[in-house]
Amino acid sequence: MNLLLIFPITIPLLTAILSALAWRSLKVQRALGVLGSAGLLAAALALLMNVWRGGIQSVQMGSWPAPFGITLVADLFGAIMVALAALTGFAVLLYSLGSIDERRQSFGYFPLFQVLLMGVCGAFLTGDLFNLYVWFEVLLIASFVLMALGGERGQMEGAVKYVTLNLVSSALFLAGIGILYGKTGTLNMADLAQKLRLEPQSDLVNSTSMLFLIAFGIKAGAFPFFFWLPASYHTPPVAVSAVFAGLLTKVGVYALIRCFTLFFVQDVQFTHTLILALAGLTMVTGVLGAAAQNEIRRILSFHIISQIGYMLMGLGLMTPLALAGSVFYLIHHIIVKTNLFLIGGVVQTLKGSDDLKKIGGLYKAHPLLALLFAIPAFSLAGIPPLSGFFAKLTLIIAGLKIDSYLIVLTALAVGILTLFSMTKIWNEAFWKAQPAGPALDNPAAATVTGGAFRLLLPVILLAAITVLIGAASEPFFALATRAAEQLIHPEEYIRAVLGGKP
């Protein structure tokens, strides 16, 4: 039994249970949180190393042979995603320690956080379609509670939309599973891939594939399904927004990439062109939405949508290089976006607001923060040699290689608008002098700057990784390339799950 595959689920589970048992002692819960997240990170990195060296790993739960039991499987793509989830979890948990108020902490923040991570990791590792649904529900319910925890008015309004639209997505997903099982008689994804590959009438599952596309499209925040995201992401505490921003939509992207490379590949001409069109529209509507906003977290929320478009672009192009671009984009984006939300939180703490009209003067007063913002912001905008540049470059090369000029043009234009948005935050919050008006400076800011290190530590960590991915992109790119190879040639995946069977 390959324990490394189980750790990303059991470590958060165990941490969650222990934290829940220590309900009354926040000290213990905090310590457990740090320990558990660090443990998860270590396990995830070990898993990634293992998959890199030894190829795709799988474990049959309860030792029931695939496709009858549930298989956990880690190909490079899955392992990368787990590692990113663990990294995000670790960074945001550190940030939570200094930013989540004690009331929320004492109502289960830490166990919920761990359950969220468990759900995310489970979704990345499972090889079974229904089990994927279960993990989706686990992470969703945890995110519901985290979103609503505190019960402020904005949170309630945001949560109602968030919950409703995500439940609709789950219902469509579940219906899709039911129909797909009715047609193919199996739930194991590798088994599905194999059966549909051999089946001459396999295009009969195309209507079902649309249900999956929409269900995951909602979760990923793609056009025209993204409404829940800008309505809710700015309402909960910053740490919650940050972990959501980093991970949740990406689970949707992951599921889309997984399903539409592994078994919904009967009619690539139709499905993937459709995905490409949605990708372009997602980029454009997202970036325009961001341009219309004036608060940092709202701007960033819309940019999540826009960036999802780039990740889907790679899937829509469906070449090895394009998929490598998508994977690289995911690596880059999760780190950068989480970090930007965290920095937005620091700004909010320092200034008492993140409304660009009300704040300013950060460049003069907090040069380190300005630098820490500039790194992920310009990376997001694709300025070389930061990580985002290489991610976009890969996708653009991939697009031009197969003459998809329209999407390339869109991607480039959206790039310049992204730059516009990031400089807007920079110009207003950092360069502009603090506007006159009621003193917004948070009275708590003095104490925060004292303890700012606790908030800045995860920010520095993530910024350093962003710089590293840019400066030494080759190893990351090699990782993405191998992951893409495994996606586009799923034989190894199928073999790892089903064993030597033909």
Binding site: V134, L140, V160, K161, Y181, P230
Partner: protein, 115 residues
Amino acid sequence: MELLLAIVIGGLYAAAIYSLLRRSIVKLVIGLILLGHATNLLIFTAGGLTRARPPIVAEGALALTPPYADPLPQALILTAIVISFGVVAFTLVLVKRAYKTVGTEDLDDMRGTDR
């Protein structure tokens, strides 16, 4: 009977969608509950209907002998029922709290976070 169930499922979906599109927050929850029922029935039907014996191995037998109802969709639905109960329970309380906090049950008045 597949046709009948297909119609019932379609009807439940239609009712769920209509209810979800109402402005009342309680209707929203009703819609979600109906959506759950419809989906469970859909899995049940799509998995293959038989008026056969339940999938329980008879005393003395070593394995199920056909015809028997497909046990796998049943297991999935069981899981789905319980999960959707948990989620709906949470949603109900959320709706109640939202109603109390915002002071209205009209969803059209809950637009503050979008602008």
